[in-house]
């Protein structure tokens, strides 16, 4: 499954600015540390993952600053914010994707099912099966459509027989809403599909290993509106099976698919709340300014 994480997306370290100074400027206005304290409820009554006091550094750059946030079972949580705010970095902490970046250091507690995922005893390969990821740019393996989906269950030993594998492949493609379009072409290369189909193939591949959480890093940014609508429909349908954390630059997408929204700004978690509240009447001025297009 390690291939799955070779995303081809920009490394977060390349987009993060230095934010560990006491004050920063945005639109010419000084924003002090006190003004960047999190508002809203960081807790969830039924958390799947619990993050407390998470800090991330890329070398000397302090990319995530004391972020605490629960990610609830069967919820879709959207993470929004301007480029370089740390939302993708935080997302990547949730399945230790940042381990692959030189000079990246993570501190704090990130707990799933009672276990700190940054514990030395944690099996990272298993963690990434439990916490799957879908990237901005579709990245199917250079294999057939069938093999793209079958690869994960096979290496994780989730299927005892060829029939089991076939069942997993079919059900995963069905859940990803791709089955009807590819059922007669399963031996064709996955890279021959359209962009939207490739992204749904990547989703099928991620859910084939039966994850508890699916992380999505701008999954629709390279897709047309129809392909985007299909992914969003999938997110809505599969919420009952999975916990989904999605990073998106589209405010409308965040409003459509999520139940809670978290707004990040220069490495701080500024505001968390019900999506309806965030997009109609946010509490924090920085959230208001960002979602109304006054900076960012």
């Amino acid at each position: 499954m390690t291939l799955q994480f070779d995303s081809g997306t920009d490394l977060p370290g390349q987009e993060i600015g230095t934010v560990n100074e006491a004050e920063s400027t945005q639109s010419g206005a000084k924003v002090s540390r006190d003004e960047r304290k999190t508002v809203g409820g960081i807790t969830h009554p039924d958390p799947r993952m619990s993050c407390r006091d998470v800090n991330v550094w890329y070398g000397d750059k302090h990319a995530i600053i004391d972020v605490s946030l629960d990610i609830g079972k069967n919820e879709v949580i959207a993470m929004i914010g301007p480029s370089g705010c740390g939302k993708s970095t935080f997302l990547r902490c949730l399945n230790r994707m940042n381990d692959t970046i030189d000079g990246c250091r993570v501190t704090g507690d990130l707990v799933m099912d009672g276990q700190n995922i940054y514990d030395r005893k944690m099996d990272v390969v298993l963690l990434r099966a439990q916490v799957g990821m879908v990237f901005q740019k579709p990245n199917p393996f250079p294999k057939s459509i069938f093999e793209n989906v079958a690869y994960g269950p096979r290496i994780h030993g989730l299927a005892a027989s060829k029939t089991d594998i076939e069942e997993i492949v079919v059900s995963s493609l069905q859940r990803a809403g791709l089955w009807d379009e590819v059922k007669d072409y399963l031996e064709e290369p996955g890279t021959g599909l359209s962009g939207g189909q490739q992204q749904r193939l990547c989703i099928a591949r991620a859910i084939a290993v039966n994850p508890e959480v699916v992380l999505m890093d701008e999954p629709c940014s390279a897709l047309d509106p129809i392909a985007t609508a299909k992914i969003e429909e999938w997110i809505d349908e599969l919420r009952e099976h999975y916990t989904i954390a999605i990073v998106t630059h589209s405010m409308q997408q965040a409003a459509r698919v999520s139940q809670r929204t978290a707004y990040f700004h220069l490495g701080d978690l500024i505001e968390v709340g019900e999506t309806d509240q965030i997009f109609t009447n946010p509490t924090h001025q920085l959230t208001e300014d960002y979602i109304t297009g006054r900076f960012g």
Binding site: M251, Q252, A255, F279, T280, N281, P282, T287, E288, D289, I291, T292, G293, R294, F295, G296
Partner: protein
């Protein structure tokens, strides 16, 4: 420009929001003028002026449609959120109420035509006197409501909602006074009934001003205070602060 309309990264968005704001102010000014002219025509028994008010109502209707188009355009083009969304929804509602204020002013102008045209018997001056007095109070409400929107001023909005309670009380007093005219001389019943309809039009304008006050609270605080008592609104605002 004000804090609700300016500051967008895309400057044309600011301009579109400002245009929307300016159009509300234009309709507001227009319907206030219509109200004043309609009541004055009644006081001065000026049928020509009343007919001008009736004709000019089309101008209000045209502006109403224009603002509706701008709202649709803004929603489709900008997909507004948070205070932009509240501003646009508020404008949509305010303009609807202002257009109805224009309709009520037209009704008052039509009353003037009905009373003083066609060589019919005109009503006694005392019967219509309350309308002129009440219209001053109503215009004050309307002016405050429009200013509350312009300045996003919650205190003014609360004041307008409070004034609506006074208006209800004054309206009932007017009805009582009118009923005494019928008791004294039943031949005036026709004029009294029509004057009641004129008073009712004024009272409705006060209701529209109160609605605008409520929209301003929604605009600034995101709280929907329609169908709530003044005390509850004040309590909610105090708790929120």
């Amino acid at each position: 420009m004000n804090e609700m309309t300016d500051g967008h990264t895309v400057k044309s968005y600011d301009e579109e929001m400002k245009l929307l704001h300016d159009n509300v102010m234009q309709i507001g000014g227009l319907v206030r003028d219509q109200l004043c002219r309609a009541v004055k025509s009644l006081e001065e028994e000026d049928v020509d002026e009343a007919r001008a008010v009736i004709d000019r109502d089309q101008e209000v209707n045209d502006l109403d449609i224009k603002v509706d188009d701008e709202v649709i355009h803004l929603i489709a083009k900008r997909q507004p959120l948070a205070k932009d969304l509240r501003e646009i929804l508020t404008v949509n509602k305010i303009v609807t109420d202002l257009e109805r204020v224009g309709d009520e002013a037209r009704k008052i102008a039509m009353l003037c035509v009905h009373f003083y045209d066609h060589n019919t018997t005109s009503p006694s001056e005392v019967i219509v006197r309350d309308m002129a007095k009440l219209s001053v109070f109503i215009d004050d409400m309307l002016e405050k409501a429009i200013r509350a929107y312009d300045e996003t001023n919650i205190d003014l909005a609360i004041d307008v909602i409070r004034m609506d309670l006074e208006l209800e009380s004054e309206f009932r007093s007017c009805l009582r006074r009118l009923s005494t005219f019928i008791m004294e001389d039943s031949r005036v019943v026709g004029h009294v009934v029509e004057t009641v309809l004129g008073l009712r039009a004024l009272e409705r304008i006060g209701g529209h001003a109160k609605n605008i006050g409520g929209y301003v609270i929604f605009l600034v605080k995101g709280m929907d205070v329609r169908h709530e008592s003044l005390d509850d609104i004040v309590d909610e605002l105090t708790a929120e602060a």
